[in-house]
Each structure stands twice: as structure tokens, then as C-alpha cells.
Subunit: 302 residues, 4 copies
Amino acid sequence: MPLTPEQRAEIDAQRADARQTLRAVAEGMEAHLYTAYPVLDHGFVRVIDYMGDDAAICQAARVSYGKGTKSVSGDEGLIRYLMRHWHSTPFEMCEIKLHVKLPVFVARQWIRHRTANVNEYSARYSILDREFYIPAPEHVAAQSEVNNQGRGETLTGEEAARVLDILKTDAARCYDNYEAMISQEGQKGLARELARMNLPANIYTQWYWKTDLHNLLHFLRLRADIHAQYEIRVYAEEICKLVADWVPFAWRAFEDYRLGGAALSGKALDCVRRMIRGEAVTRESSGMSAGEWREFQEVIAG
Amino acid sequence: MPLTPEQRAEIDAQRADARQTLRAVAEGMEAHLYTAYPVLDHGFVRVIDYMGDDAAICQAARVSYGKGTKSVSGDEGLIRYLMRHWHSTPFEMCEIKLHVKLPVFVARQWIRHRTANVNEYSARYSILDREFYIPAPEHVAAQSEVNNQGRGETLTGEEAARVLDILKTDAARCYDNYEAMISQEGQKGLARELARMNLPANIYTQWYWKTDLHNLLHFLRLRADIHAQYEIRVYAEEICKLVADWVPFAWRAFEDYRLGGAALSGKALDCVRRMIRGEAVTRESSGMSAGEWREFQEVIAG
Amino acid sequence: MPLTPEQRAEIDAQRADARQTLRAVAEGMEAHLYTAYPVLDHGFVRVIDYMGDDAAICQAARVSYGKGTKSVSGDEGLIRYLMRHWHSTPFEMCEIKLHVKLPVFVARQWIRHRTANVNEYSARYSILDREFYIPAPEHVAAQSEVNNQGRGETLTGEEAARVLDILKTDAARCYDNYEAMISQEGQKGLARELARMNLPANIYTQWYWKTDLHNLLHFLRLRADIHAQYEIRVYAEEICKLVADWVPFAWRAFEDYRLGGAALSGKALDCVRRMIRGEAVTRESSGMSAGEWREFQEVIAG
Amino acid sequence: MPLTPEQRAEIDAQRADARQTLRAVAEGMEAHLYTAYPVLDHGFVRVIDYMGDDAAICQAARVSYGKGTKSVSGDEGLIRYLMRHWHSTPFEMCEIKLHVKLPVFVARQWIRHRTANVNEYSARYSILDREFYIPAPEHVAAQSEVNNQGRGETLTGEEAARVLDILKTDAARCYDNYEAMISQEGQKGLARELARMNLPANIYTQWYWKTDLHNLLHFLRLRADIHAQYEIRVYAEEICKLVADWVPFAWRAFEDYRLGGAALSGKALDCVRRMIRGEAVTRESSGMSAGEWREFQEVIAG
């Protein structure tokens, strides 16, 4: 359970406090505001604030005085045009602020996306909670044999049990010792900025993370991808649902042009043209490496 | 007059359309939304959207579940602490989107602040309006004799009249010729992306400009400064008023620590300490250059 | 002629002054250093400095202690892999610094690429030279009838002559008046920061521009593209030649995966798969808009 | 010992391989290239590459054709002027690339400086080494009683011994279990991207980190500060020495205007002016909070 009763009460209070505004309002997003959507065993994602909607993208693209909307169909067409031609600046005119609770090893991947604003819970100032990510049994997987940075089939039996036992036991012991070191009962107590170094990377942290829609979509393209590590992908997938309700036109364009599309190299395009003409194309005649050819076959097969 | 009746009607329609939201609302900013505040002879600044308020700065600094407000006085104290110690990330959690109409030579200075999102009116796609900045007589100034990149005393008499006449005449002629080149009556008409090159830098352009509060304050520190060129400073000053109503605690901290403060060098601090002890300090004994010493004297004199 | 004899002498002096370094050296780039390659009628691009080479990309990807090179063929394969899978950070480990002389209206497009460092010649501090871009006759083109932000066929005859005459005459007159306003003979002289507003957008400016290889390639993808405005495209094309000599592996991967490739949408991929199976696909059955379909046909035709 | 014999040999090979270049060369930095300067018990900082020198700062500020140097004394004066007036863009024209080995909890602080390029050693792809930061006894400190996010006096006796014992024992056990989980002897072996979550935050990681001089100085101002956590401050201090040898003019200006200087608020300036006039100023009459007043007293006392 990611939230305490007090935290739930604070969130309920925020959701009960509707006010008037003259700003653009995205009804689809209002329905999600503040609610903590669970991710992994103790994590969550919740929207704290947003700026703009589909119409705001068009309004900026047109540098318009009013709402910038000519017609609903006109807006969707414009957004598709902007997405197709990599006109990214109008998408930057929407902004989102999230509160995320996540394991440290996920946070370390996440923060490599630098065009964002971040305030993380300070373990110099505060004491971290005793909450660790322990994978569900179906996610305890072996090292992949084809992908050096991925995972393969699920571990089972004794090996899986041993892994889960290690993760739980080491986390518990490290946290016990963290508490023992900072305790001020009968001793001075180690500085928190030092004691935290004893905590393993599956401990949960949390942050406020704010970014614009263009950079968010870039994050989602990489992190909602099937090759992303499962533990960050589930966060990305949860955010995808929020974006789909926030800016539905932009989301559909993104799904078609980015998530569902593919970038073909010059060599791949050449193969496609030959195949459409009915030619048989082999890896040898394609000029591609083994890896490229395998990936090309996957794209063509769908 | 910067706005047409149609544009005014669009703005009025936006101001009449209040809706419900669960987001943080800054009443001081709601009062300004969409209204075009005139700047220079044809320009304006207007707020299109904003995210967050003073409480949102504290909420992010505390990574809190609820509103993040302990007490109003606690919030102001925290904001002053954050500003004093250069903790910039909580201020990045507020965002503002402006629609600005401004002369091209001002836009060229403005855009050097790179941490912002911009959509500018496209002179490849659209035809620019016949609107040029012509300085008011009291702002037609001579080159400064002490500051190589500033202006000195106001020009008067025939010289001033000649300047104004040149600016008006050249602008009008260049625009006439711009229109003549793109006209499609009796000719093909030059491409707009080429014709625009004939327009002088006092023509007005407009853009949507979005940035976070931290970067906005940095912009204001440099551009609302007395050494900034007058024509960009008046935009900065107008934005200052908006910020003061949007996030009053942050604004007051900014006024005290940045606008009203000064950065003293190690040498200057040393002089201050000696002067407080009653020593007489001269430029020679200060170790400063002539320029530094003059600036130091201004800071000390207040 | 973009350079004065004094400037040529300064460049020659720089090219004559070889020194020892322990840093990575790209011989292909050493051959270009400082040389001003002419672009348009008065502009140029010249490399002032660079950091890294192909091996440096691999070294960073491997976080290695030594040169990071296993073998030349291994390096090219790794670079192709990184490019194909959008691993952009190793490309950010190379940096380039250019000195560019370019018309103001080109500079205004260029600077929208914000992830770069810029120092522009200051027209507040200095007096601009009397140099204006006047298109060669073959580049004086009509507004496009299919592309609202492009140009179509070349203007000829009297219309072309009239355009060139206007551009030259207005530039000359505006510059004459600029000089007259700032002159301090028999008058005070208008401040340079004001006088510059009388200068049209085809006047030349210059700047130092520094960026990393990843962002440079992104710039080149957009600006060396056939849809980019001719006057910025020629700068991009000149830079392409420099990059090809600087980091030949990265360049070839970029050519194959970006310049020569294409991003297909989900709908387009679906059409491709059907076409390869021998199905006839029409716009109606593709689900695409007219614009998308036209662009898709161009990609398929090659 | 942070380096293996093989790593030392690779570094020696790099230092032995001098080549010719036409680029700006900073002799002070050439002397440091590639050498690993030890930091903490297993970490290091080493310069992999650099771009520019003091003259390059001036050259960019002047947008010059040649070396940009008028005279050595002129250059230092210009650099001091630029630093004093917050003209940051010329400093951005120098770039540095570092290879750093550092504990994960230090890396997590460090990466909050977002305007930089980073390639970190991948624990998805590779197996981390058994190297953990264990503080020297004199750095095992209690939580500060005045600063909620700092440390106070050094722990001694049994408490200190217990802390060091915990840190060593937990690190060893977690690493043993990490190895046991990924082992492929007699079992499939857990995916590395999962196993790494068992490792505590004092394990060492390493990265290539590249930034420009302006952002580097900002980093140093915050992290070489006495209030920064000791474990990141020692990295900053080591980098300070490198910068002092790389760009001595910029370094001295930075020391005087930033490290040795102080930002005074409007209230503090007012107090200073009164004190110079001989008035007695109290906290009550200063208008400052207790915290501000204490910090002001420290600045004034020197």
C-alpha cells in the first residue's frame, strides 16, 4: 500500500477543493489530478499540476490571440501535421508536474532525461521509509542470452526463491542497521547524509518531476518501449494513460507516428522498395549487418 | 493601439469563460490572464497560462503529499531561505506562458535566454503587419560616452527630428517594397521567406514564450536592470508587475536578495570590513581596478 | 569577398601555429581549422575548435580507461548501433565551435536550436559592416503554391530585376541612414543600440556557435533537408562536409539512418506490409490524409 | 588503489602519445591529461579532453578572427569584467570532459546539475566491481544539531567502530549476494539489471562527464562550498586545482568574485551602509530573520 491514511486524506482534500480559473482546462486530466496510481509494490504516479491542452498546442503553433481553435477536426489535423514534421515547439507549450514514488535504481535511469525539473526527497535532511522494491515472482528473470543489457526467461523453483529471500533479507538488515546508526538513543547518532549510503538501490525515493509535453513524449517513446527495463516501463505505461486523457489528439498522433511507427534507414528503405516491386531481398544483398537485418525483419513482419 | 477590435473580442471571450479546476489557483494572476498590457508604441505582454503559486514552491521543496503549506508565515520564511541559498529547483516548479508583441531587435536580445520554449509568428508562412517601433522623442538618445554599449543624453532639436524622420521614412519605404514584392497582382510574387529580408529590425513580431519561474527571475534580474537597453527593460518591468501578483512571497524575496542586493567580490568584502572598523580605504589599497572601484562606490553609497 | 586581408593574415597565422597536444586529434578536422569556407555572397563558416573524434564516441560509450578502441571495424559497428538505437549521449561527447558570418534572417532561424552556446557580434557595442545578402538571380523565387512556407519557381525578367533592385536600393539607403544617424560629425550621434533598428534583415552578422555532435546532427537533419530555406541550407551543407571529415563513422551512420532514412507511421508500416504481400493499397484503405499519402508515396518511390 | 596495472598502462600510453594540433592548447591542462587524481578511498578524477583556454574566452567575447588576444593584461581585465557583470556566454566557449569514479550516493547529488553530458558505466550491461566507499575514521560524523542537512562533530570510540563495522559488513554481504545471484554456475543467473538493486549506495560507479566552463564554475561554487557534503566537496576541490591550471585568469576572477565574495541582500546592504557611517546596527533594526542575521554576521566578520 503506497499511502498512509493521512496521505489519502490530504489527497482527498485536494480533490475536493475545486476553484474557478480562466485558464485552459483539460477535463480528462482534472479527473486524474492528485490521485496516486499504484506502480510496482510500493510506488505510484500522481499528477500534481498541468498546463495546456490540445487546443493550446494549436494556439501556440498559430501564435493566436484567442483560443486558437478553428475547428476540432482542424485542430487534430494540425497536431498530426506538427508531429509528422517534427515541429516540436508547439508541444513544448504544454507542461505537466508529477509526484512519483519509485525505487532508487529506477530513479537513476529516469534522471538521465535532463530536460526536466526535479525536486527529490532529501535523505540528507529526512529519514527514508522502510520500503523496498521486491519483484513479483513472475518478474524475477534470468540474464538475457541475446541482449547483453536485458533479461530473459523467468526464474523458477529454488533459484527464484533464493533470489527473493536475498533481496528481502539484505534490505531488511541494511535498513535495520541504517536505523541503528542514526539512532540518538544512548549515542550521538550518525549523520543522515552518511547513514543513507548503507541503503540498497531498491529502496523507494520520491520526487516532484516537471517537464513539457515534447520531452515527456520523448521519455515515453524510450521508456514505454518493449526494450526498456520492466521496472521503469510500468511507470511510463501509467503515464501514457494520463497523457491519452490529457491531450487525446497529441496522444493519437504520437501513437501513430512514434510508438506504432518505425525509423527505416536508407538501406532498409531501399529493401522495402525492392520488395514492393516483387524482388527477393536477402541480408547479403541488403548491405545490412546481422543485427540490423534481424530488426528490419521484425519491422516488416509487424 | 496594439489590438484590433476582433482581437479584443477574442480576449474578452477568454476572460469571460471561467471554468472549474482542481489545480492550484493564483488569484493575483487570474486577474491578469489574457489581458494585453501595452509596451512601447505597438507592443504588449499578456499572460496566456501559468502553473503553480507560492505554495507550490513550498510543496515541491517539501515533496509533500498535500498542499505543502504549513502556515503562511512558514511558507514565506521557506521561500526566503530557498532564495538566499540559491536552491533554484523549487522555483522551477512554477511555469508561465506569455504572448508578447515586440520589435525584432528586442526579440533578438530576448531569445538569448535559451531555457525557454518559443513559438514565433512565422514570416515564411504569414505576411507581417505594417507596424514599426518608433521611439518616443524622450528616448532618442546619443551614444553613451562612458558605456560603450549604452546610451547617454537625449537628442534634441534638428538631430532628433532627423532621426525620427529617417526611422519612419525608411520603415515605410521598406514595407511598401515588401508588399510590392510579394504582391501577386500582375506578377508571380516573391516568396515571403525572401521578401521579409527587406524589413528593418524595428518591425514588430510576436511570440508565445514559456519559461519557469527560476529562469524568468534570472531574465528579469538582467533585463529589468538599469543597464539593460530601455526597449527590453520596459517589457521586463511589465512582467515584474505580473510576477509580484502571481507569487508575492517569491517576488519579495527576489526583490530583497537579487534586485535590491549586490554581489560583492572578495576584495570588496575586505574593504567593507575595513571600513566598518573605521579604516579609510582608497582604490590603491583596495586592489581593485578603476571600473571595479567605481562600481563598488555606487554599491556602498546606495 | 567575406574577408579582409588583415583577417586572412590572422587566419593564416593561426593555421601556421601547430603545437603539441595529448588530446584526441582528428586529422580530417585539423585540415579545416580556421579556414573560412564561403557561403552565400558574404558569409562563411569556419571551425575554431573541436573536441573528440569517432574513437571518443566509443570511449564514452564504453566508459573506458584508455582510447576505447577495440578495432576500427568494431568502432564503426558500435557507432552504427548507437545511432540506430537512439543512444544519443555518446555523440554528445564530441563538441565543435564554429565562427559563422550569416544574414540576420538566417541567424533568427538558426538560434531556435537552443542547445548551443552563442556569442554574437554586438551591434550595441560595435558598428555593423555594410554587407547585405542579395540573392543570386537563380534564387529569386516565387511563393510556393503547394507549400505555404516555401518557395516555388524562379522569378525571371522584369519581376526578378525589380526585386533585386529593391533589395539593393533599400539596403544601401538604410545603411546610409544608419551611418548618418550614428555619425558624430557636427552632431552628438544616435546610440548604436538604437540606430541598428534601421537595418534590414539581410544585413550580415556573425557569431561564435558551439554545440555537441548530437545536437549538431539534429540541426543538420532539419536544416540540410530539402524543405529548409535555401539560405540556411547552404550553411548546413557546408557544415555537413566538415562533419564528414571530422567523424567519418558517425557521419556515415547519420547519412544512412537519418538523412537517407525515413520515419514511417504505424499506418504507413501497415501499408508497406500489405504492399510487400502483393496487395494493392489505396489512400482510402490506408487511413491516411491526403498530405500523409502524398509524402508516403514519395518515400516509397525513393 | 583506484587503478589496476592494466588501467595504469592504458593511461601511460595515452600520456605518451603527443600529436600536433592547430587548436588552442592550454599547457597547464596538458600536464594533467588522463592522470587519475585519487579522491576518497577508491575514487578519482581525470581529465579526458578540454576545449579552449583563457584566450578563447576573450576571442569569443570579441567574436574575433584571430586569437582574440590583444595583450595578456588586456585579456585578464576583460575576463574579470565578464565575470563581474555575469556575462556568462564567453565562459561557455570552453569545455571539459572528465572521467570520474565516485560512490553512487555522490553521483546522485552530482547529476542534479543537468547542463552537462553524461555516460555512466552500465550496471545493466556490465558487472560492477567490489568497491565501496568506507569513510576514514575522521569523517564518521554525527548529525548536525544546527543544520538539518549537515553533519556535526566526529564520532569516536565504540559508536564510530560500530558504524564502520556495519558499513563494511553490509557492503560485503550485499556484494557476495549480488555475485551469488548473477552467477551462472549451476543456475541460470539473475539478470544484472535486477541484481544491481541489492547493492548499497556506497558502491562505486564511474562516468564520463562533460560540461562547459560556465556550468562547471557554477557546480564548483555550490559543491566546493563549506556547506556541501564532504564526499562531493573533495571531488569539487580536486577539480578546482585542474581549472586553476587550465584557465588561470578565469580561475582568479572566479575566486575573487564568487568563491571569496558574497551576495548581500538589500537589507544587508542597508546595514553595511549604516555601519560604515558608524551606526550601531542590531538584528531588530536590520529587518532580518535570525538565520539571515547570523549569516550576515559571518560575512561581515570574514
